[in-house]
Amino acid sequence: MKNTDRYKNELLTTWEETYKKGQLTLWIFLALKDGPKYVNEIRDFIEEYSEGTISCEEQSLYRALRKFNHLKIVGFSSGKGNKGPDRKYYELTGIGIEILASFITRNIKLFFNKKLIELMNLK
């Protein structure tokens, strides 16, 4: 690899690392908007729809979910697991649904602006 390519790749990777750090919450909320899920299902959803660009460890997910549960953003109910003990099925609460909708309106929808779509060469 040429030095320039290596340099560009290093910059891009650093940018992506910073960018992805703040994205886990959005991905968790989107997974739960899709329907109640237990931790492994949330992780699978994120990996599938982020096309493998976002990977998350189970412990990080549990920690985030416990925190969101404490803040009443996420609730859970117990459901049957495969052979093993009952699983916790997490879901967004009313507050969770509302803040996700507001977040999308204020931060995501603006990227669907015609001019921005052209600039991102998505057409």
């Binding site: 703040g22 919450t25 416990r66 925190k67 404490h70 803040l71």
Partner: protein, 139 residues
């Protein structure tokens, strides 16, 4: 934010037991005029409080993400220690070398620090939502 938690109650009960044992040991060694042992009792008592508060406080904040800057534990220690010490004198269990003034002076000086701690807690509280630091909610 829920201020009185299960861990804080466990701590209060343990501290009450430690304090009664400490006061008993202190009065006993002073009555026996073995003054050097009074330091040992004080040091053991202090270490026990520190280890208990550290473990119960840490486990609680990790599990519940609650940030109270240790105020609950400081205030509980202040109240329980003060209560046990005052009762010790009221019930006449103290040795002739102990004075109630020492307890009162300690409570006054410690009280100033509790007030300072409360002011710090109040200022930090604005940086939290339901006891969780805002900077850590969506990190």
């Amino acid at each position: 934010m829920k201020f009185i938690t299960k861990n804080l109650i466990v701590y209060a009960v343990l501290l009450f037991v430690y304090s009664v044992v400490f006061r008993y040991a202190l009065s006993a060694v002073l009555n026996a005029e073995k003054f050097n042992f009074a330091y040992v009792a004080g040091i053991v008592y202090g270490i026990l409080i520190f280890i208990t508060a550290w473990n119960l406080g840490k486990a609680h904040s990790l599990r519940k993400f609650v940030f109270d800057a240790g105020l609950g534990f400081n205030l509980t220690t202040y109240i329980i220690w003060g209560l046990v010490s005052e009762l010790w004198f009221i019930l006449g269990f103290n040795s002739r070398y102990e004075t109630i003034k020492a307890v009162h002076y300690t409570l006054i000086i410690w009280g100033v620090f509790v007030i300072i701690h409360f002011i710090i807690y109040w200022r930090l509280k604005s940086r939290t939502i339901r006891g969780v630091l805002k900077s850590e909610i969506f990190d």
